[in-house]
């Protein structure tokens, strides 16, 4: 587990003044890496202006392959390029990559190839496009694949660091989950991503909120509100879903005795499930999971949807307080 040194975190209110697009950061970082890494190639499936791989494609048209609306062929071609020694990045929307599960499984993961799938528009923050595009099952699908590693960058700083890591040190297939919306910048520019390392964004002794993505920002806000209720919450960014920081979970269980997980994903097969598995194996304590409860999303503004699905800051405060006070949980879900 890592601790953020220096300025640990910014309040969301402050951060709202400084939000940055994760996918824009991705596209720009790909372009920067393209200048120094001549064997880096990028594929997309007709969404490059949205995933932002077009930024790379514009400067390196010879190393950018737009495969059309043909994700299966994109994944296979990515495998072929990686078999030939290329460092491959392939992008589309998260929901559309899942239709290639079997290509991912056989052509990429079974062959254990250096292909980095950086997907955007995951989760309910797709907003108005609605349920068809709001995938909340992808982390489970990807985590189940042998050899596949999975991460959910919390902000633009972590996104940049993840992409740098993959271009320079990454081995084997990787799934990186980005979003449509801009997210608050939480990390210092000096932050460095390491697979399997969680980051304590705020320390606390009474309860631990472990989150991914935008929910980490919400958790920091919730921690502020909990403080006024006399509850000192630890907030941990669990961006590396696989490998996962087991020690961070064990520490949380031992130090705070209760864990709440928060994710813009189904409570099944994502962060909550992983944390509950580890806690039950290593240091059993109550683990309450907040997320999408076996349901599809819905059209609406991204931020409205968190309230609609009871995953907003206010819900999180109630949820964590109930967990801390060991109140019956289901009364506190709505």
């Amino acid at each position: 587990m890592m601790r953020n040194t220096g300025r640990r975190w910014k309040r969301l209110e402050e951060s709202e003044m400084k939000t940055e697009s994760l996918r824009e950061t991705y596209g720009e970082e790909l372009r920067n890496l393209g200048r120094t890494h001549s064997n880096l190639v990028v594929l997309d499936a007709d969404l490059s202006t949205s995933t932002k791989t077009a930024i790379f494609g514009k400067e390196f048209p010879d190393r950018f392959f737009n495969m059309g609306i043909a994700e299966q062929s994109m994944v296979e071609t990515a495998a072929g390029l990686a078999l030939s020694g290329k460092k491959v990045f392939a992008s589309t929307f998260a929901v559309f990559l899942t239709r290639t599960y079997e290509q991912l499984r056989q052509s990429v993961c079974y062959n254990n190839l250096d292909v980095n799938f950086v997907v955007t528009h995951a989760g309910i923050t797709v907003g108005e496009d609605g349920a068809t595009h709001q995938i909340v099952e992808d982390l489970g699908i990807m985590s189940g694949l042998p050899n596949m590693k999975v991460t959910v960058p919390v902000d633009s700083v972590e996104t940049r660091s993840v992409i740098d890591y993959l271009a320079n040190q990454g081995r084997g297939p990787y799934y990186v989950r980005l979003t449509r919306e801009k997210f608050p910048v939480l990390n210092d520019p000096s932050y460095e991503f390491r697979p399997g390392k969680a980051t304590v964004m705020k320390d606390g002794d009474d309860i631990t909120i472990m989150g991914i993505g935008i929910m980490v920002s919400f958790a920091l806000q919730a921690a502020d509100a909990l403080k006024s209720k006399g509850i000192d919450a630890r907030v941990v960014n669990m961006s590396s879903i696989k490998p996962i920081d087991r020690k961070a979970v064990i520490d949380a269980a031992r130090d705070t005795g209760k864990i709440v997980t928060v994710e813009e994903h189904s409570i099944y097969n994502g962060l909550g499930s992983r944390v509950a598995e580890i806690a039950s194996e290593e240091y059993p304590v109550p683990v309450w999971r907040m997320g999408m409860r076996d349901t599809f999303g819905k059209s609406g503004k991204s931020w409205e949807l968190f309230d609609y699905f009871h995953m907003g800051v206010n819900d999180m405060v109630k949820f964590a307080e109930a967990c801390f006070r060991e109140e019956p949980r289901y009364e506190n879900l709505s």
């Binding site: 059309g68 299966q72 062929s73 390029l81 990686a82 078999l83 079997e102 056989q106």
Partner: protein, 274 residues
């Protein structure tokens, strides 16, 4: 490399077929039908046309072959062993625990370029390898062997489009048109239409041949090597189970070995050689 004439290649193909039967009978499972149908093509590719060296399996300039129909593992493994990538004695481990010779084509086997088995993925992999050759200014060729039932998978057509878009004249696909798939005849299970015209309309050059006529196979591959602006599909008309009378055109032997010692002996007798 030694120059093999057609008579030599026929003998090699016969040996490939013998090994196929021996492997699936020893394993009591496996896919002889679609391995026997491509034995002549494999003999031509690995013993005459491909630029490969079993002693340098990682040579960046080597030709690559992706066995997209990964159930034809007995055919490919037998060919690789006979070509000298690994000892023939290892073929006995086919489909057994602690052998590298997985049931479907596995990259851990020397000479195998990519693991395959779930259909419809090899042509896309071939597109990627061929693109890499263009990027690296290398003149190796990429061969992909497809089954005819396999092209019922839509992903294959995605890759036909991609091969055409990128003008991959270094990509040669060979379609094993044997007319049989697991459940029966392709004409019953899912009629495939005029494959040659379909693939041509996707922007490929199509060469129609008898996949058991060595001269036709050789001249088609040599013509495909001269392609200038587009990929080539060699549409090879073959017989599933070729060389073993009771297996020929019999869907049962898509995925079943000889049923008993008598069938086994008959198969080897009909194939001949040794």
């Amino acid at each position: 490399m030694e120059q093999y004439n057609v008579m030599d290649l026929k003998n090699i193909a016969r040996n490939i077929r013998r090994k196929i039967i021996e492997m699936v009978y020893e394993a009591k499972s496996g896919h002889p039908g679609g391995s026997l149908s491509i034995a002549d093509i494999l003999a031509v590719l690995y013993f005459k046309e491909m630029n490969i060296d079993p002693l340098e399996p990682d040579d960046p300039n080597r030709d690559r072959l992706i066995m997209s129909k990964g159930h034809a593992s007995p055919g490919l493994y037998a060919t690789l062993a006979l070509r000298g990538y690994f000892p023939e004695s290892l073929l006995g481990g086919f489909r057994k625990l602690n052998s590298k010779l997985e049931g479907h084509v596995h990259r851990g086997v020397p000479g195998v370029e990519a693991s395959t088995g779930s259909l419809g993925q090899g042509l896309g992999i071939g597109v990627g390898i061929a693109l890499a050759a263009k990027l690296d200014h290398r003149d190796y060729r990429t061969y992909v062997i497809l089954g005819d039932g396999e092209i019922e998978e839509g992903s294959v057509w995605e890759s036909f489009m991609a091969g055409s878009k990128y003008r991959l004249n270094n990509l040669i696909a060979i379609l094993d048109r044997n007319g049989v798939q697991l459940d029966g005849y392709t004409s019953d299970i899912m009629p495939l239409g005029d494959i040659g015209r379909m693939v041509e309309s996707f922007g490929w050059e199509v060469l129609d041949i008898d996949g058991h006529d060595f001269n036709q196979i050789i001249s088609a591959v040599e013509k495909a090597k001269k392609a200038t602006d587009r990929p080539v599909l060699i549409l090879a008309h073959t017989v599933k189970g070729k060389g073993v009378s009771y297996m020929e055109n019999n869907p049962k032997y898509h995925g079943s070995p000889p049923a008993n010692d008598e069938e086994y002996r008959q198969a080897l007798e009909e194939i001949g050689g040794e």
